[in-house]
Symmetry: C2
Subunit: 463 residues, 2 copies
């Protein structure tokens, strides 16, 4: 019988398919991948083998009948090998099958200073070896989920006919005017004007650029990098991160919230269905409340609460003796994470849209409500994390927007943005999801540095 | 009967579904979108209407029975409207149905200086109004294809188990050392060292960063922005563009070429199947050889030719009287576009992999062949364009790579990259596709500035 070449995933797919004919046809197979561990007791040896296409390892077994016994016995952790062996089904055992190795070839040796050993490494240590940590269990799981979650985002919006727009990263505007942007200069001249004839910086949001596309395609979204030169050294801040920013024409705040709820549930369902082994791993090793928390969100109807009511509830809580770090609750304040968590975890005990915030604490492009005090904003708060998504209905009325922008001083700079309100504008809404924070949320990983392939945080860049 | 709300796409989908029951159930519908044109001959009026969810317009008809006759008659080009009307099937007519308008509401007026009129505008003019051009026919088609082609890329790699990796954009290395990078500084300090403690620039390629992931997941890809501060003012150069960079462990040059061929064919098929109206438009309005060219590629087996043989053929052509701009054909030269086009268009008359280039003209990470003169590179050349994809098998041998990098002076800076050759490295290959150029190729659009939402080219930045 000819040797069949497989990836781990393909082989496991056949064996777990339940297709008796296909399984029976398995005989001698060839695999290529890496040694996770290798232990040999003299008469029999076991290699935990993995080629990265499936989360769980495959067990290789070798004894003195193995033609390459001298070779495989020396293949240490991290070594790249090619093996040929016979599939042996092991019903009832911990693993449904093993490979009895007949031949083994070393494809790549591993140096003595290979930093990943069998013992458990700290996240801090692994952050120092970003080029090796993808091979550690936790990061095999995290980066797989990162990939699957990206696909979930694209499928969600594609199925609904949204057009994906690549908004530019080099730009002349700084979005909400929140400051702390990175300038872009040509090499060595240090002149941010030189290349484009204007000062340019890295984008903080694609929203302003994507809105004109919503007026052409109705439903659009961006999914790409954004940057903030914030020196905040927290577990939730990175200076480079990925953002998802959908924008929908003819859509009001209620429609916006419906799409946010659908999107979050779709993503959670998608990851649970696509990454069962990884999710089991996270629930065991990272956060054993994870699956309960996610399942609870899936089964919840997201509640909606006015900011003004939220403030009253928080004030009441303080009156009844609840202690926040900041107990000074006043209408008009920007809520801190502890306040958001209290509302979502203690009050509604589930996902909560907090809506209609004071206009002073929200971005200029949000639609002013009839009370002229609040704007049609919605932040999605979820238990365990606090804010997960932020969105709003946009101000579509030219005069009102123009006044706000003139007060802010960006009406001239952003005259093209104002144009969209004169050229067949319409009510429209959109939201933003920080993709890296979404990964933290669905994996339970506690530090944004452990969700990104090569994290970019203040004071740290090795790669 | 209740009013049914539809997007254009949803309504057309029902009518072209052939489902007699669903079609018969259509009665009074509500649509929201924009007026493309509006002409009224006194007794009857016609609006070409589009909400951006489908390429072709829907025809609205109104007469004096329309409750909102005074309103709709004044709705000019670009105006956002909401209409309620009755679906009237028109079998045999140019359009399979029209909407007889009963009510109309203006959602957004259009100012007198609205720059898109019924007449045809030049690409140069439209480039000056990047925030409005998505509503022009050509750009409705281009940006839709851009979105669909992005999804094609993700589906192709996801179906094959590739892990999507977000490689960083802010980095300390300049990839192939080709120079002309953009520096990144914190605002106003103009200090590229300040934020990260090291000089940083915008990435020119994700390849070096993604290779370590191939050694963890076997098959991986990036799809994200890259930057070159080149002052080249050509139709094919932009300073910000999107790149697709797959990397496969245990894959040699032949395997690499197979995946490139599969990927290119998959993308073409996907776009033709998903965007029939847009492709018809391009073939009629932009390039009437387009569909023939693409179909020819789909039906071709991609040929493979050694660079050395290519040089001989070009020398022979010159000897036989063929005139190139550069007639000085010598082994070791970097081929110009005219030479590449000659080989793919005149010699093999189809897609061609030119392989095994002189090592001096290719990047340091490409695998040196046994002749010690060439590297295992493959450039895919296609008729009409020239180079579409560039790839290679990577140098996996530590000592050889180290020597090349030491000669280049980046061995210390990129010690982490060299590590991958000591830590269970293996033969591996990868390639790069310039996404914006791929769009030019599948749409026939001749200028990269017309494929990007907000093009970034030297000396030009308005948004």
């Amino acid at each position: 019988m000819a040797i069949q070449k497989f990836t781990d995933f393909e082989l496991i797919d056949v064996i777990t398919s339940g297709d008796a004919e296909e399984i029976a046809a398995l005989d001698v197979v060839e695999l290529e991948g890496w040694v996770k561990t290798n232990r040999d007791n003299g008469s029999i040896g076991f290699v935990e083998f993995n080629d990265g296409t499936y989360f769980k390892n495959i067990q290789l077994v070798y004894d003195n009948n193995c033609k390459s016994h001298d070779i495989i016995v020396k293949a240490g952790t991290g070594c790249a090998i090619r093996v040929v062996g016979k599939v042996k089904l092991t019903p009832g055992a911990k693993q449904p099958f093993e490979i009895v190795v007949d031949e083994c070839e070393i494809e790549g040796e591993v140096a003595e200073d290979y930093p990943l050993q069998k013992k458990r490494h700290s996240f801090e240590f692994l952050r120092e070896i970003a080029h090796v940590r993808p091979r550690a269990n936790t990061f095999q799981a995290v980066y797989r989920v990162r990939s699957v979650l990206s696909m979930a985002i694209h499928e969600f919006f594609n199925q609904r006919g949204f057009v994906y727009v690549h908004t530019p990263l080099i730009t002349t505007n700084d979005g909400e005017g929140a400051g702390n942007v990175f300038d872009v200069t040509t090499h060595d001249t240090k002149d941010p004007f030189e290349f484009y004839g204007r000062k340019v910086n890295l984008t903080v949001t694609g929203q302003l650029h994507v809105e004109p596309f919503a007026l052409a395609f109705r439903n659009v979204y961006t999914f790409g990098p954004a940057f903030r030169a914030e020196h905040s050294n927290t577990v939730r801040h990175a200076s480079e991160f990925w953002m998802i920013e959908p924008e929908m024409a003819f859509c009001d705040l209620n429609g916006n919230m419906q799409i946010i709820e659908d999107c979050v549930k779709f993503c959670i369902n998608y990851v649970i269905a696509s990454c069962p082994e990884e999710m089991k791993f996270f629930n065991t090793m990272i956060d054993n409340t994870l699956m309960d928390r996610l399942t609870h969100v899936l089964n919840s109807e997201f509640k909606r609460m006015d900011y003004t009511d939220g403030i009253k509830i928080l004030q009441e809580a303080v009156k009844n003796g609840h202690k926040f770090e900041n107990n000074n609750i006043e209408w008009g304040m920007d809520l801190q994470s502890e306040h958001e968590k209290y509302l979502t975890e203690e009050v509604v005990k589930g996902p909560l849209f907090l809506i209609n915030y004071p206009k002073e604490i929200k971005a200029f492009y949000m639609r002013v409500n009839d009370d002229n005090k609040t704007v049609a904003a919605c932040d999605l708060l979820v238990p365990g994390v606090g804010e997960l998504v932020g969105g709003s209905q946009r101000e579509e009325r030219y005069e009102i927007l123009k006044q706000k922008m003139e007060a802010l001083g960006n009406a001239e700079e952003l005259s093209w943005y104002l144009d969209t309100r004169r050229f067949g504008g319409c009510r429209h809404s959109g939201f933003g999801i920080g993709f890296d924070r979404l990964i933290m949320y669905v994996t339970g990983v506690g530090n944004i540095r452990d969700t990104q392939p090569y994290p970019r945080t203040s004071g740290s860049i090795k790669y």
